[in-house]
């Protein structure tokens, strides 16, 4: 009996010991360490609250949150203020900040494995990190005051990183973030600039022209035929274009162009903004509205913050990692941005000889450096970074192009963003705009003295070949010294001497009202500005409404919010009458039979909207799928919605692989759309148009819940379901003191996925509701000060 007991005890002891040992020494230990209730690091990271007091060598500051986790930071001293801003960003958004810098430095593979290797290769070759280094050196030399504020901010981020448990994503991925640096902040500034201006359109056009031949011009017009440029009736610069076009250089493959295009921003990035002068408003004071269209992520790309330094204040949004309010309002005025669509990137091909490339009459060595990419779960990968006089060389499978981009040079944008946030009226703001070297944007501004302003920001290159100005819509022969930029130094400080002077860039002071929605800026600029602009659907609708309302001269903040919520789709207004002529929609049954009486509004409960959306998708497929496949070109190369909505007679329809005519394609599309609708089971447009915003980490519990919403890629109320891009911040600000300034984020301000403020604004955003910009700050608070 004793033996039996001993055996039993031994077995039980072995089981208990085995479980305990297994918990320490097997892969289970990771899960126990992370997820065990009470002690798990993931739970610790989310239940850990910031301390009530933080030692700061920069002086006293107070940070207090409102009910939406929006911080108000008060300090008399600017360094103390921005140190606390850094602490807020480090507390609420550290994972996103780290992810973005990893992306730009080409260090994603180190934590997510070889799935990110392509991205890392591209970004290492582009050497964005070196550009950020050059930027930091330049900021310190040019503007020590701003450099000191950046340093204070960086110290704030790192204090939060050290004081508190790391965000849960770090625990899940099993790594700790390195110290935040000023270069990281400038790198994030480059990231958004790349998103807005990094375009390989010239390469794509080169490939398309070669592969498509006849029909290319119809499918890819340089200029859309419309009458709603941003600056109309001779406002701004105007005049005859005096460019000569040089020949295309040696051909670039569709594979390389496609690969590089994969590192551009997703379709749908753009924005709306407008400013209305007091002569057109009920209050007699200007109104300003802005909603930038960027990737919609969980958490949002923007972080809302309110700053108060005693004799001034500013509130608005910035990118976590960047200290200064980028879009917002201060005690003197308000401002917003839309992407200008200006061409600030050129590609160059070279005659090469091993380690050298020909540049005019001489052979030069590529500047080279070896770089090791760490890959989680696999061997390290070595990439050779190569550069020419134009900038980095990106290579894929033996094929390469040189790239010149204004972002590779040091810029004064950081100074400009700070100066804008602290500006004291129109004159001050205009001076700040001069320094806004990157990205090229359309800025709109209004001040409390009743002024309004629009200006194109950013350095705009002028290209020269053999001493003549040439447009940038081509791939240049770098060896023949085509398309040279004068006054440009990649990875150093440019003089910008050969670029378009500030005064020559389009703009207007007190223009009455001006509407910008990424459409053509002016009809006939003196200088080459862009290869092509976004389709003007939103721009024409914006002016249509503003023109109408301007007649009454009594616009209100509520009108501005209505305009941001406007769902009229001018694609549909163009295309549906043609569809009705071409196909029997009544015979197709619901929802297609709603099209004849439809008001072209992309509302979630509209049958017409659902019918149009699926029909438009199917019509694109019918028009392009076979023709482009025959040319070995993917869907990424398909023409814009403007072409789809307007294409009528064209050599495109004469090909064997393409439909006989646009009406024939419409009939095919109607059948395909009906089939798709039956397969998918969508009963409302809202079911089709669901915003399912995802966290970059890809774990389902980190994603936002799906929400049905209104709008389309072509409406002012902007949402593109295919790429989850759209209004990333809606802001309406009156210059009158009526308290009606209103804003909303597509999600929440807090990056902690377990926080109640992770997506507390999502439903309001989807429903077109707003929150007052004025807030009550009665939530958790942190006092800074008392440090050595």
């Amino acid at each position: 009996m004793d033996d039996v007991d001993s055996v039993r005890r031994g077995l039980i002891g072995a089981v208990l010991g085995g479980v305990a040992a297994g918990g320490f020494f097997t892969p289970a230990s990771t899960y126990l360490d992370q997820f065990a209730p009470l002690s798990g690091s993931v739970w610790d990271s989310t239940t850990n609250e910031p301390p009530g007091r933080v030692d700061s060598e920069y002086g006293d500051a107070t940070l207090q949150y409102d009910g939406h986790r929006v911080p108000r930071i008060e300090a008399d001293d600017q360094a103390a203020l921005y140190h606390a801003v850094g602490y807020a960003h480090g507390t609420d958004r550290l994972f996103g900040m780290d992810l973005q810098r990893r992306l730009m430095r080409g260090r994603l593979s180190a934590v997510v494995g070889d799935a990110a290797l392509d991205s890392d290769r591209f970004r290492v070759q582009m050497d964005f990190a070196r550009a950020a280094d050059a930027n930091w050196t330049a900021v310190q030399n040019r503007n020590p005051e701003v450099a000191d504020l950046l340093s204070a901010y960086v110290d704030g981020v790192n204090a939060a990183r050290e004081d508190q448990a790391l965000p849960p994503e770090f625990e899940l991925l099993g790594y700790e973030p390195a110290e935040w640096t000023p270069e990281d902040t400038l790198l994030l500034q480059l990231q958004i600039s790349w998103t807005l201006t990094g375009s390989f359109g010239s390469l794509r056009r080169s490939v398309l022209a070669r592969e498509l031949g006849d029909g290319f011009d119809d499918l890819f017009p340089r200029r859309y035929d419309h009458d709603s440029p941003i600056l109309r009736d001779g406002v701004g610069t105007a005049g005859a274009s005096a460019h000569s076009e040089s020949r295309d250089s040696r051909p670039v493959s569709g594979e390389l162009a496609g690969w590089l295009s994969g590192f551009e921003s997703p379709p749908g990035v753009g924005s709306n903004s407008w400013v209305v002068g007091g002569e057109y408003t009920e209050s007699g004071e200007p109104l300003l509205a802005n909603d930038p269209h960027l990737s919609l992520l969980a958490p949002p790309v923007w972080y809302q913050q309110h700053l108060d330094w005693g004799d001034g204040w500013v509130r608005g949004v910035t990118f976590p990692g960047v200290p200064f309010v980028i879009i917002g309002e201060n005690d003197a005025g308000a401002w917003g941005f839309t992407n200008a669509g200006i061409d600030v990137l050129d590609c160059y091909t070279y005659e090469t000889d091993g380690d050298r490339y020909r540049y005019g009459d001489e052979w030069r060595d590529f500047e080279t450096a070896e770089h090791t990419i760490e890959v989680d779960g696999a061997d390290d990968v070595t990439v050779t970074k190569r550069k020419t006089v134009h900038g980095p060389v990106v290579e894929r499978e033996g094929e390469e192009v040189g790239v010149a981009w204004t972002g590779f040079s040091a810029t004064a944008t950081t100074d400009a963003v700070y100066a804008m946030a602290h500006s004291d009226g129109l004159d001050d703001f205009r001076e700040a705009t001069r320094d806004f070297d990157l990205p090229t944007q359309c800025v709109v501004y209004a001040d409390r003295d009743g002024n309004t302003y629009h200006k194109v920001t950013g350095r705009v290159p002028v290209r020269y070949t053999d001493g003549e100005r040439v447009p940038g819509w081509q791939v240049f022969d770098g060896s023949a010294r085509e398309g040279e930029w004068r006054g440009y130094t990649p990875y150093g400080e440019s003089s910008w001497a050969g670029f378009v002077p500030f005064e020559d860039k389009p703009g207007a002071v007190n223009p009455g009202y001006v509407g910008t929605a990424n459409q053509r800026i002016v009809d006939d600029p003196d200088d080459y500005l862009a290869e092509s602009y976004s389709p003007p659907f939103r721009g024409e609708r914006l002016y249509e409404v503003l023109d109408d309302w301007a007649e009454s001269g009594s616009m209100t903040p509520e009108d501005m919010r209505d305009l941001q919520r406007d769902t009229l789709d001018t694609r549909a207004r163009r295309l549906v009458p043609r569809l009705l002529d071409a196909a029997d929609v009544a015979a197709a049954g619901p929802p297609f039979d709603a099209l004849p009486d439809w008001d072209y509004r992309m509302d979630r409960d509209s049958d017409g909207a659902l019918a149009f959306a699926v029909l438009f998708d199917a019509y694109r497929e019918a028009l392009y799928a076979d023709g482009f496949a025959a040319a070995d070109l993917s869907e990424d190369y398909w023409p814009s919605d403007w072409v789809t909505a307007t294409l009528d007679s064209s050599p495109w329809f004469d090909r064997d692989e393409t439909p006989d005519s646009a009406p024939a394609a419409m009939r095919t599309a109607l059948d395909a759309a009906a089939d798709r609708l039956a397969d998918e089971g969508w009963e409302t447009y809202g079911e089709y148009n669901e915003a399912s915003l995802e966290h970059p980490f890809g774990q389902s519990f980190l994603n936002y819940p799906g929400v049905e919403t209104d709008g389309s890629p072509a409406t002012l109320n902007n949402f593109r379901r295919d790429s989850d891009t759209g209004s990333s911040w809606r802001m309406v600000v009156p210059m009158s003191d009526d308290g009606e300034a209103s804003v909303v984020l597509p999600g929440g301000n807090d990056g902690d996925p377990f926080s109640d403020q992770y997506h507390d604004q999502l439903r309001a955003w989807a429903d077109g509701r707003y929150y007052g910009f004025d807030r009550e700050f009665a939530g958790p608070s942190i006092e800074f000060g008392g440090g050595d």
């Binding site: 005890r9 039980i12 918990g23 899960y31 360490d33 997820f35 009470l38 739970w43 239940t47």
Partner: protein
């Protein structure tokens, strides 16, 4: 005697929860403690599971205090893991009932 055992069990549970708040081993130790103190195998198993459930409820309390409870219910795999771990460790720990000299009681 029962009262004494209850008191010991209560102290053991509190101590185990304290340990569990810094390391998952506390969940196993808690199961061991209540298992050893139980008078029968079924009671030991129930006590082990009960300890795991109690740890989970205390955990819910910490989430509630931090304002994180609402999102927890949507946490998917994390939710399942945080439920399963204390129940499993509590139940396995309760096997320690068999270490008693009268561990064969039914």
């Amino acid at each position: 005697m029962d009262r004494e055992r209850t008191l010991v069990a209560a102290v053991a549970v509190v101590a185990s929860l304290a340990l569990a708040s810094v390391h998952w081993l506390g969940l196993l130790v808690g199961g061991v403690a209540v298992g050893v103190l139980a008078s029968t195998w079924p009671r030991a198993l129930a006590a082990g599971l009960g300890f795991g459930a109690l740890a989970w409820v205390v955990f819910l309390g910490t989430l509630w205090r931090a304002g994180r409870l609402a999102a927890y219910w949507d946490a998917g795999l994390l939710l399942y893991a945080s439920v399963g771990i204390p129940l499993a460790l509590g139940a396995v720990g309760a096997l320690a009932h068999g270490l008693r000299s009268d561990g064969s009681t039914a």
